[in-house]
Symmetry: C3
Subunit: 128 residues, 3 copies
Amino acid sequence: SLMTKGQKNVGVDVELISEININNETFIERNFTESEILYCSNTASPQSSFAGTWSAKEAVFKALDTVSLGAGAPLKDIEIIRDAKTGAPKVQLHGDAADAAIDSDIRGFQVSISHNDIQAVAVAFAEI
Amino acid sequence: SLMTKGQKNVGVDVELISEININNETFIERNFTESEILYCSNTASPQSSFAGTWSAKEAVFKALDTVSLGAGAPLKDIEIIRDAKTGAPKVQLHGDAADAAIDSDIRGFQVSISHNDIQAVAVAFAEI
Amino acid sequence: SLMTKGQKNVGVDVELISEININNETFIERNFTESEILYCSNTASPQSSFAGTWSAKEAVFKALDTVSLGAGAPLKDIEIIRDAKTGAPKVQLHGDAADAAIDSDIRGFQVSISHNDIQAVAVAFAEI
């Protein structure tokens, strides 16, 4: 077998921008932090930004390679923050997501986001 | 030059789901293992699953960074299995693909797959 | 915090192939090297090749995680060359991009490109 334990996990996610309903307040508030909502709402295309941020959360979740974060914690515990200088997305985990990362000996995550008019795509990987 | 030998190769692949013809038995049987066919056929959307799995094989092939796997070995030797606990895709190489990995000192691969209604995308990288 | 300094940065980029205007000579000559133009112009689908190469440049730029490369240096300083044996894309930096990489202790980049009829996608990551 060529599979090895202790490798850095990768995660990819692609979302149709049209599928993200930013008027669904329950969805938004369950899954996005206050600062994410503030950031995405103030871009030129809020729907694209929410789609990109959602895509990044999903990619990090996949790289976390865990069964689930528990019923009470959707993707709000995987927060995508923006570097003050470069604007690049960074990952900040909270609650169950942070615990899952510690359990898996993950030191941190790298994530990148891109979107065009149709889709958003994100890639994340975990540093072990 | 900033290029370095011995780096972990990355591979990405994107496929239009509509381009995968799951009724083409020759294509399916040449490129997918029995357990892949069983897995993909039993998902909610077999066509999306075959497209995602195909995309993962292509991404791993790119990360393998080899010239070719030889005429007799299409992408069947790059098998995408699913983690029993998390459902996450894992890579298992056979035959020429396994030999190519050993020749390149690749210890293993990480892969992730995502799809929406239109496309499947996969990212793989090799651990050297 | 689970964020760590000194990690390998990842970059992803997705482009609609239709958005790349290969008849815009100013855009092409500002952003592509002579050998890139030669390579892309001689493929079966020049527009797809330019879109894929552009996507790779953007992905590397994101993985470079710098503020900007300066007004005079668009993406021409991030050159995507092709491996003579496998055809795989490789990264060669020049000018400001090379300086930015050195400043960030980046030893090299890995990049992969894929496209279908609609989109091109690329993933890059930096070796630190």
